[in-house]
Amino acid sequence: MKITRKDFLRLSGLSLLAAGCKQTVRPVTQSASAARAASSEPVRWGMVIDLGKCREKDGCNACIHACNAAHNIPQIANRAHEVKWIWTEPYAAVFPSVQPGFAPQRYAETLVPLLCNHCADPPCTRVCPTQAAWKRDDGIVMMDWHRCIGCRYCIAACPYGSRSFNWEDPRPSIATINSDFPTRTKGVVEKCNFCEERLARGLKPACVDACPQRVFTFGNLADLNSAPRQLLRERFAVQRKPELGTGPSVFYLV
């Protein structure tokens, strides 16, 4: 088929007109979808941990036990194979850059509860080759164990040591299996999920509910009037390694 000069000009004109129409229609549709997104309340789950109230020194590990029981976390004696979602470390190791050097010794040895920070800009999700780790719209850094291939890039990327690898079958190391939550299998990475399965049922995370001292304050950081936001407004709080720019959603009142 041969195209005439007249047809060519006509087609060009129509194409230009169509492109122009698209440009004018796009802003209209975009503002509509933006309005739809704004109408649903933004959520960013976060946690404030009051170290003053935490009586780790008395040997209370209620938060850790509650998490272990809820999520079928194996208790493996070999530290190289250890799996942990919430655990403790001495203050000096948790906040190495917040050490005045003259603080009383007991301060440096105070145990601090640690868990996944559910970062605003998580490095672990960027490196995952299968998108088994990703950030949900509500701020939870989630894991899909069905997709995890066990490459452990995320473990290398996480600056907080929040991720554990299953070097062995975890089932023999679980005292009592909670059938409501799956166990993991050999060869996958796991970490704290901010009790995503409990949030879906309207409950708070297991550690928050288990703490006898109410050390943990959990809530929506995007809501100005939420309990954690109120605490952060009134008191001085620190994050772990804020200089890395990951934007942790877990804050510590010291």
């Binding site: 989630m142 009592t176 299996i177 909670n178 059938s179 799956p182 299998t185 995503e196 879906a200």
Partner: protein, 136 residues
């Protein structure tokens, strides 16, 4: 037509050789011509979809549920008859079905070597049994 004997003898040997695994399994009791004896839930008459659809496509349904729950946090399943179920293998499927006497029996009969759901997901009835057994 003088080769008729040889042709039919050869065919018989060929068919026998081809089907010998089936005869072997039948003779050993590893296979049976009887359909599996599946135990249906006593407390429920209806599944989340009609039986024919479940038989043919339960694997796609389960994978869809898995993607919805884990990746989209969508746990609500509206069934064909308008009933609402939780998208959960442990709560919804095993809430009625018995894994050993339903899932496993049919998978064994049809020679499905997987699935590997149970490497991580728990059978609540088996877990309850094992805890009562291990208790002093």
């Amino acid at each position: 037509m003088r080769d008729r004997l040889w042709i039919f003898a050869g065919l018989t040997v060929f068919v026998a050789a081809l089907t010998c695994p089936a005869w072997y399994a039948l003779a050993n009791g590893k296979a049976t011509s009887n359909p599996p004896n599946l135990e249906l839930p006593a407390n429920q008459k209806e599944c989340v979809a009609p039986a024919g659809i479940m038989r043919a496509t339960h694997m796609q349904l389960l994978i869809g549920w898995r993607e919805d729950v884990v990746r989209r946090a969508d746990r609500r399943f509206v069934a064909f008859n308008g009933k609402v179920y939780e998208k959960s293998l442990t709560h919804t499927c095993l809430g009625c079905h018995n894994k050993e006497r339903f899932c496993d029996r049919c998978h064994a009969y049809s020679g499905v070597s997987g699935p590997y759901c149970w490497n991580c997901h728990n059978d609540p009835q088996a877990v309850a049994l094992s805890t009562t057994r291990s208790a002093p």
